[in-house]
């Protein structure tokens, strides 16, 4: 019985809760049990909040008894440890925030709580979301539920692995250059990175402010849409969140894609792309065409510049964003008596290698004499990348592409080669730079049985069309119903 409860989708669980077949406490306990059984191997969670989760579940049951039917009432979820949660340690996977317990809760998480969701714990991440495997976590590496020797992707690898392993019904992650989409693909689940400005960033510990966006994970597109609808919307605390109404994303899932214009960017099918991925993605495109969509080849000519542009803009912003971690007000302080030595020791010992690498990269790119050649030029090319998409979306409604060049790689395989690691986000960076929508749905498995993700890209604030396309594909396939062999 218990295993059944962790194998549900959010909508299925909600129906059972509504019908009174199960209680939120039962549902939550089942997930906590599974976490305690599986997480010692998977290591998706940095913090497990058993007591708080059961309290919240009991409250949810009480609310339901009083007639409340909030959309996520009693639904157990996992939250990436980059998102601020009042009273619960929030570390960003970094030792520099070891023991930090925030005094407030971020907007997106608060919206989940208001909708009745139950937080099971905080999930592992590459330190400050800088990475594609969780190997950069200051604490430990998360394992891919499909093959424990492999990475779950990153940086939101903890959240993706938790959902894939049935340790949470859904999860929040953050995506700066692919950190939601890449782990969703590698873990065989569905996810969306909404448009920049769709979800408030208040309470998201900033990595790259002009790119960061909170995204949602689920076993189905339906769940992903439900979670997104809950957290989306303007927030007066985030001046970059758009004052636009939130459409009914669930209502957009009509299953009908007749006449939908699909673009296939030739620049995304290049050397280095794992053959099984190309086959699976091309098959998915044919499947959509069979469903009535019109497919055409398009060009996004500046795609090749996305990687260098991203690795100038993101580290530049990060170099300033991470300056506040100085041990003066919170986090461990490695006191050396004097001010400068204390700064150096605190930051030197608190940050890991990859974070330091990016801080140095960004500091360099912003320095006098280099700013124009690096940061400013990168911003100009970013505009060209954005224009590529604008032109493409004059002809097509969505763009389909692979999410990653390879399926999940072995732990340690790329850990010493940052450039190889950076390349695993090569297909997701452009949509981040353009601030547009990118969703992922499972679209097959490679010869080793590892999941492959299809990326569905759409124009800014057209989440409904992206979700409709992804959902229609999912309705026509059963990839998402497979479970890892645990």
């Amino acid at each position: 019985m218990t295993t059944d409860l962790t194998d549900l989708t959010i909508t299925q669980a909600r129906d059972k809760l509504r019908a009174g077949d199960i209680s939120a406490v039962q549902l939550t306990q089942a997930h906590l049990d599974r976490i305690h059984a599986l997480d010692p191997q998977i290591r998706a969670f940095l913090t497990i909040t058993d007591e708080k989760a059961l309290d919240a579940a009991a409250q949810a049951d009480q609310r339901r008894q009083q007639g409340d039917d909030a959309p996520l009432l009693g639904i157990p979820l996992a939250i990436k440890d980059v998102l601020i949660t009042k009273g619960v340690p929030t570390t960003c996977g970094s030792h520099i925030l070891e023991g930090f317990v925030p005094p407030y809760t971020g907007t997106a998480v608060q919206k989940l709580f208001d909708a009745g969701a139950v937080m099971l714990g905080k999930t592992n991440t590459d330190e400050f979301a800088m990475g594609s495997s969780t190997e950069n976590s200051g604490y430990f590496t998360t394992h891919n539920p499909w093959d424990l020797d492999r990475v779950p992707g990153g940086s939101s690898g903890g959240s993706a692995a938790a959902v894939a392993a049935g340790m949470a019904l859904g999860a929040l992650g953050t995506d700066t250059g692919g950190s939601v989409r890449q782990p969703a693909a590698l873990c065989g689940i569905s996810a969306i990175k909404p448009s920049y400005g769709r979800v408030s960033r208040y309470g998201l510990i900033a990595f790259a402010s002009s790119l960061d966006q909170i995204g949602t994970f689920g076993r189905t597109v339906e769940d992903v849409a439900l979670l997104l609808g809950t957290i989306a919307g303007h927030d007066p605390r985030d001046s970059t969140s758009m004052p636009l109404p939130v459409p009914d994303y669930s209502a957009a899932l009509t299953g009908d894609i007749r006449g939908l214009r699909i673009g296939v960017p030739k620049e995304y099918f290049i050397g280095g792309l794992q053959p099984e991925i190309e086959r699976a993605v091309r098959a998915a495109i044919e499947q959509m065409a069979a469903g009535g969509a019109e497919v055409c080849e398009i060009s996004l000519p500046h795609t090749e510049y996305a990687l260098p542009v991203y690795y100038l803009i993101a580290p530049s912003e990060a170099s300033a964003n991470l300056a506040r971690f100085d041990g003066v007000r919170y986090g461990p302080r490695h006191s050396q008596g004097e001010m400068w030595p204390t700064y150096k020791a605190t930051r030197g010992q608190g940050f890991g290698h990859e974070v330091k690498r990016r801080i140095m990269l960004g500091t360099y790119a912003l320095s006098a004499g280099y700013y124009d050649a690096y940061y400013l030029k990168a911003q100009k090319v970013r505009t060209l990348i954005k224009q590529d998409f604008e032109q493409a979306f004059e002809k097509v409604d969505v763009i389909l592409s692979p999410t990653t060049p390879t399926t999940a790689f072995k732990i340690g395989e790329k850990a010493d080669d940052p450039l190889q690691m950076y390349l695993s986000d090569v297909f997701t960076l452009s949509a981040s730079l353009a601030g547009i929508v990118g969703a992922v749905v499972p679209c097959g498995y490679d010869d080793d049985g590892l999941p492959i993700g299809l990326q569905v890209i759409g124009p800014a604030f057209d989440e409904p069309t992206v979700l409709r396309a992804a959902h229609a594909y999912q309705q026509a396939t059963d990839w998402h119903t497979r479970r890892p062999p645990l």
């Binding site: 005094p103 900033a206 170099s319 300033a320 991470l322 006098a368 700013y371």
Partner: protein, 485 residues
């Protein structure tokens, strides 16, 4: 010997005394008296995950100043991050404006001691957030972040200031304008207004710009003048003795009345400015700018000119009255209450300021003295009508200043009304002359000045209330009458 001229640019940081801070809803408080770290929140503490939100009132305050300083307001302005590490800077960067400031290319007309005026160019005025404050105790540093995030307007002049006198005049005028605009209390001792002259000197006629120093921690306008004068002299002496001036940040040592080196600048600091990605560009619609311009209060120069033309005041008197907003308002209230403007101006600049000086009260506190504008107006009118004489009025002034009250009632209660009854005054004059035969004789011998002495005796006999003009006439008449005897 070479003649030198100073080249000074002034950098001013004015806190905008809005209800809340620049990017959060914490209150702006007096950080010299508030209990430390009580007016803080996750945003101004630089907690992880927080985001700034622009305080629209601060933008409006900044625009008021920009417009009052005759600046152009560009189509848009943009916030930028200025990065450096210091414990009073919670985020490790200050949100400021860099490439696109709020206001540019303005000017301010200053009044010089010789009565001339001069325009000082304003290069730019931009918005930013204040830092916290450090206190050093027993080898430790304590951080108070009440002030962190308070809105600041940085106002930068062109290098148009060429003497300590001009620096002082600029400081006075700018401070007055900020107070008129009700955006800043002008209290330099509390650090809400900070003025930092950048000083270099060069031979008169040269166009080169030599190495400059920056003088900080000047806690009053007088100190701005004194420190500027000191630094100008110091640099001239350095060049005269064949030395070179080193680029440095200097401070003013009040005890030694001299500048001290705080920090030598070996290379330009790199703040790695870049546009603040957490905030949108600030675009202020033209009609809103014009609405702010239309709502600006009458500023000191306009007020001074109006006082001259409408009330016939001298340029000097008018300038003195408008230099402090509170004084100008006090004067206007008294005129409104029906007193003669010139007489009111005389009383304020003379008696009222003297009384306030005696008490070491700043002129800006004039609104709080017990002598109300209405009472001053009434007093002036009593003199004008001849109800009391000037001498009584001056004594009454002292009473009203110390205790307040209604002049007309005091005159009645104390029987201070002027005596203009000729028979009464003549009797008093005759009595004095009869008692002073020696003085009378000296007068008759040609010593005119004894009249003044005799006058004093008569007024004393009249307990100060005699109509002075009438007493003088009667005294002369009676003295002349005795010549024929």
């Amino acid at each position: 010997m070479t003649a030198y001229e100073a080249v000074i640019g002034m950098e001013v940081h004015a806190e905008l005394q809005t209800a809340s801070k620049m990017f959060c809803s914490c209150a702006v408080v007096d950080s010299t008296s508030a209990a430390p770290n009580q007016h803080v929140c996750p945003v101004c503490l630089g907690m992880p995950g927080v985001l700034p939100v622009i305080n629209q009132q601060a933008v409006e305050f900044g625009l008021r100043v920009g417009l009052a300083l005759n600046c152009e307001i560009p189509e848009f302005s943009q916030f930028a991050r200025k990065s450096y590490f210091y414990p009073d800077l919670p985020k490790g960067y200050q949100i400021s404006q860099y490439e696109f400031p709020l206001a540019v290319r303005g000017w301010l007309e200053i009044d010089l001691p010789d009565g001339s005026t001069k325009r000082i160019g304003i290069r730019r005025a931009h918005l930013e957030e204040d830092t916290g404050k450090l206190t050093h105790v027993d080898g430790h540093s304590l951080v108070d972040l009440n002030r962190a995030g308070v809105p600041l307007l940085e106002i930068v002049t062109e290098a148009d200031i060429h003497s300590a006198e001009e620096a002082e005049a600029y400081a006075r005028k700018l401070r007055a304008i900020l107070r008129y605009l009700e955006v800043n209390s002008g209290d330099m001792s509390k650090g809400v207004l900070r003025m930092e002259p950048n000083i270099s000197v060069r031979p008169v006629g040269a166009s080169e710009l030599r190495t400059r120093t920056e003088v900080k921690n000047l806690n009053s306008i007088r100190v701005v003048a004194r420190a500027s004068a000191y630094e100008i002299e110091r640099q001239i002496k350095v060049y005269e003795s064949g030395g070179t001036v080193q680029q440095a940040t200097l401070g003013w040592d009040e005890n030694r009345q001299s500048v001290v080196v705080q920090r030598l600048k070996e290379s330009a600091e790199d703040y790695r400015y870049f546009p603040e990605p957490d905030l949108p560009i600030v675009i202020i619609p033209r009609d809103q700018i014009e609405a702010i311009r239309a709502a600006l209060p009458e500023l000191p120069d306009a007020k001074r000119d109006r006082f001259i033309t409408a009330f016939g005041l001298s340029h000097y008197d008018a300038a003195v009255l408008v230099a402090e907003q509170a004084v100008a308002y006090y004067f206007e209230a008294a005129v409104q209450a029906g007193g003669d403007p010139k007489q009111i101006a005389n009383y304020i600049i003379g008696d009222v300021f003297r009384q306030m000086n005696n008490e070491s009260r700043d002129r800006e506190e004039i609104g709080a003295i017990k002598l109300t504008p209405k009472a001053l107006a009434d007093l002036v009118t009593l003199v004008q009508k001849g109800t009391i004489n000037h001498g009584v009025a001056k004594k009454l002034m002292d009473t009203l200043y110390t205790d307040g009250g209604d002049p007309a009632r005091l005159v009645e209660e104390r029987g201070l009304a002027q005596v203009s009854d000729e028979s009464v005054l003549a009797a008093a004059v005759i009595a004095v002359l009869d008692a002073q035969p020696g003085e009378v004789a000296r007068y008759l011998a040609g010593e005119d000045k004894v009249v003044k002495f005799l006058m004093g005796l008569v007024m004393k006999a009249m307990r100060g209330k005699g109509d002075a003009q009438m007493v003088q006439r009667l005294l002369t008449e009676q003295l002349e009458a005795r010549r024929t005897n």
